[in-house]
């Protein structure tokens, strides 16, 4: 669940801006108008306008992907086009929730592939938004590490293909902080020294989860008393926070305006590789470990091209190339073996089993608990 390039700075990265693309955008905008008949159920609308956004015979040659920034690049797309003759158009989102909202509003019907994170996969399966994948059409699933052969969020990978994984932790500037941060508590212990030089993620589950973990509870706690305690702990540190931000802190951190930020490992690693002062840790009391996947939504057009892309990404060489150029951790054992020793031994990228043992995956919550999280989050961010 990475990814910064904000919805402002780079709303989308397109390899093939064509007139068709523009027309599709217009069609999508008009389709939005179809919501006006939504009296019965907003969710029903989404499947109606597939034809409007994807009609036309040329489309088997174009694949629309909706993903996080930095999960593909021009080179990968060009390789794919060379191999299959299919053009790739990539649009980018910056949070699972944004993606879900867009898909549910019917704005995402042109996409054949999306890249939700684990808990979002589970949620989308429950909402009936994901197609079952045909194992016969996938090649290379046996290369997945054991952990990803039968993940809890999607048993047996029926709906999703694991693509990348990582942790959430603290990224800091060695020169700017005193001592060595080891745990979440560091933020509370040093809040007067580092006042307004720290940020937490603008992500309700990650930030609440981290505070819960620092109190010794589960990342996915559903106990109202524990949640209240976590909320109060957040209130305590809020005056010392510059901002809640999930992306865009890089310049401020490198420039010395921020000293320590909560970050997803994928984002952190590119900074630690770039600048020796930057250090990333997974806090000792534990954090979250997440998996981002590739799925085919039920509304997907051009399913054949989608399978082509998935199989392309499953090729160990391609996957290795992606890991090396985009620096994320791969669940693919074969491509892990092909990595350089330097990357293989990078503990930020591939933390040791001891570190992972205290980490948890984010699990979906029941509605009541989820409302409670939202309520506390609204209070903490709005007050």
């Amino acid at each position: 669940m990475p990814r910064k390039p904000s919805l402002f700075s780079r709303p989308s990265r397109r390899f093939n801006p064509t007139r068709r693309r523009f027309l599709q955008g217009t069609a999508a905008a008009v389709a939005g108008g179809a919501l006006s008949n939504c009296r019965g159920g907003i969710s029903d609308v989404q499947s109606d306008d597939t034809a409007a956004t994807t009609g036309g015979e040329g489309d088997a040659k174009t694949l629309h992907i909706y993903t996080w920034a930095d999960y593909t690049n021009d080179e990968l797309a060009a390789k794919f086009t060379d191999k299959t003759g299919i053009d790739v158009v990539v649009d980018i989102y910056d949070s699972n929730e944004t993606m879900l909202a867009k898909m549910q509003a019917g704005g995402g019907d042109a996409y054949s592939l999306i890249y939700p994170s684990d808990y979002m996969v589970q949620q989308m399966i429950e909402l009936g938004m994901l197609s079952e994948l045909d194992p016969a059409r996938l090649t290379g699933m046996e290369n997945m590490l054991d952990k990803w052969q039968d993940p809890v969020y999607d048993p047996k990978n029926v709906h999703s293909v694991p693509f990348s994984w990582g942790t959430t932790g603290l990224l800091y500037n060695k020169d700017a902080v005193s001592g060595t941060p080891e745990d979440w508590d560091y933020l509370w212990d040093n809040q007067s020294d580092l006042a307004r030089q720290m940020t937490l993620l603008e992500d309700v589950r990650e930030t609440m989860g981290a505070v819960l973990k620092s109190l010794g509870y589960s990342y996915n706690s559903s106990d109202p008393d524990e949640l209240k305690e976590a909320y109060e702990r957040l209130v305590e540190i809020k005056p010392a926070l510059a901002k809640f931000m999930s992306f865009g802190y890089e310049d401020a951190l490198l420039g010395g305006d921020l000293s320590i930020v909560m970050a997803y490992s994928v984002d952190a690693i590119s900074l630690t590789l770039e600048d020796d002062r930057m250090e990333y840790i997974v806090p000792a009391s534990g954090s979250s470990v997440w998996t981002d996947t590739i799925v085919v939504p039920t509304s997907a057009p051009n399913v054949d091209a989608a399978y082509e892309w998935i199989n392309f990404m499953l090729e160990p060489e391609v996957s290795t190339f992606a890991v090396e150029s985009l620096s994320f951790a791969t669940p693919n054992a074969k491509s892990f073996d092909m990595l350089s020793d330097e990357l293989k031994n990078n503990e930020d990228l591939f933390p040791s089993e001891e570190v992972l043992a205290v980490c948890e995956g984010i699990a979906p919550l029941d509605k009541e608990t989820s409302d409670l999280y939202d309520e506390y989050w609204t209070q903490i961010t709005s007050a």
Binding site: G33, S36, E97, A101, L127, L241, D257
Partner: protein
Amino acid sequence: MAIASPSEDQDSHPPLGRLGRLRATWIGPLTLLAPSGLWLVLFLVLPTLLILNISLMPGLRPGESPIGYGLGNYSQVFNPWDAAFIPVYIQVIGRSLYYAVTTTVICLLVGFPVAYWLALMAPQRWRNLLVVAFVLPLWTSSLLRSYAWSSLLRPSGILNSFIEWISSIIGVPLPTQDWLYTSTAVLIGLTYNFLPYMVLILYASLEKIDRALLEASADLGARPSQTFLKVTVPQSLPGIAAGCLLVFITSMGDFVVPTLLGGASSMTISRLIYNQFLGITRNWGLGSALSMVLILAVSLAIALLLKYGDRDSIAEA
């Protein structure tokens, strides 16, 4: 007017007959108005009705079917006796109003002298160039301009380098500022973004003042300050009203500046609405209710604008 004028023509022409009259009074004007009317209905009236509709479904989330109609969303925001009531919503609305009002006041205080000088004192041949210079920043994206402010205002940014440079010259240490991600940064960003509108509207309004009145006032013995307060200001009041309301309306609903320059404690109603639709909380019912509150506040301001504002100045600006 448009409908009345064809019927006036009837007197000077031969009688049109029933069908002809129908065509003159209805079909002609309707044909002319249809494109923009259709546009308004499709993209303004229908979406607003849709928002109103969803705002009446308590706690509606995408993918769920509504539980029924009611005022639950509004009561969650405004009714302290509601179990779901959280005071932060009112706090957020209050903060948005505070940003909008403060921005308006600063824009007026800064903008009026500038517009006054431009309209009445600047050399004639420079005037157009100066006005263009004021409009020029509006040609770049407000997003870029707001981003630029974040590098100006950050602790190690240009503002503080400048303060330190001044300190080193005068030999007195001046306090450096940590303004980025605070309400101060939001107010600076909003003022910067909307000041040109204020200046343009005031300029258009002040420029129309008849110089003869100012001369007459002076001839009759009024001091310059008296002339200003009793002749200039009253005549530019409609322009002042128009400028203030326009700045208020736009800054109330602005999303970019508070998002980029605001910090952990500068949530505004526009950001809150965003969170309900595309952010984490995803409560479309509540988001729609908050949107209706914003639409209502802005509509009220527009109604005031139409009643008291100088519409000509806005059109010229």
